[in-house]
Symmetry: C2
Subunit: 104 residues, 2 copies
DNA sequence: CTTGACGCCTAGTTTTGCTAGGTATAGCCT
DNA sequence: AGGCTATACCTAGCAAAACTAGGCGTCAAG
């Protein structure tokens, strides 16, 4: 998977995962890998900064927890995050629809 | 259309257009707008540098022509370009399939 | 006690699309 | 004649974002 094809779509993926369940960064990477059959294998250096962006934008919030001696920062969607996800889903449909029209 | 969602996909679009007919840069922008119902409206500053990239990579070639007093640089796919397009189509399918799996 | 999995963080690099200008020709309107 | 729009190309500099390549610390298994 070339790196650039992901650009502009990582936020959508993170929001979609968090819509189903709150999760910490490392877990989000796992979930994306699982759900995509190993196609989406995001670097941690991609995910953590992206989560900060999303938190700064107010679409997710985070809280620390400790499980078996390991610190986790768990993220969950805010109400604005739910709206944002819906909007990004629409944008995704528009985009892929347009590309499909060109490719066909 | 947010700018970043296009990143990594412009080459696919250009190759797809050129697969149907050789075209010059300005015309490619028009064709993308038409085929996508105005969703894809690429800046010239996006398209021209992208075409140079593609030519440098050997997937398109260009030749000058003059029509009604105006210079045009017409691009067409090379054999390698045809292969590259096929590969990028596959990559596109993989990518959108993976995202769909996450979104569903 | 070393290795690997878990878990987080970040400075710097690279790629790439866009902005905002520039140049030039042709045709139409006033 | 002058100005405006469409056609057509070019490019320096900017900005966004994903990745590289490291770092830190905990825990369980060998």
């Amino acid at each position: 998977m070339r790196a650039e094809v992901l650009k502009g779509h990582v936020d959508l993926l993170l929001l979609a995962v968090l819509a189903d369940e709150p999760a910490h960064g490392y877990r989000i990477v796992e979930l994306l890998r699982e759900r995509s059959n190993d196609v989406l294998d995001l670097a941690e250096g991609t995910v953590y900064p992206a989560l900060y962006r999303l938190e700064r934008q107010g679409v997710v919030t985070s809280s620390w927890s400790t499980v078996e001696g390991r610190r986790r920062r768990v993220y969950r969607l805010t109400r604005r995050g739910v709206r944002e996800l819906a909007e990004r889903r629409r944008a995704w449909e528009d985009f892929t629809g347009a590309v499909r029209a060109v490719l066909s």
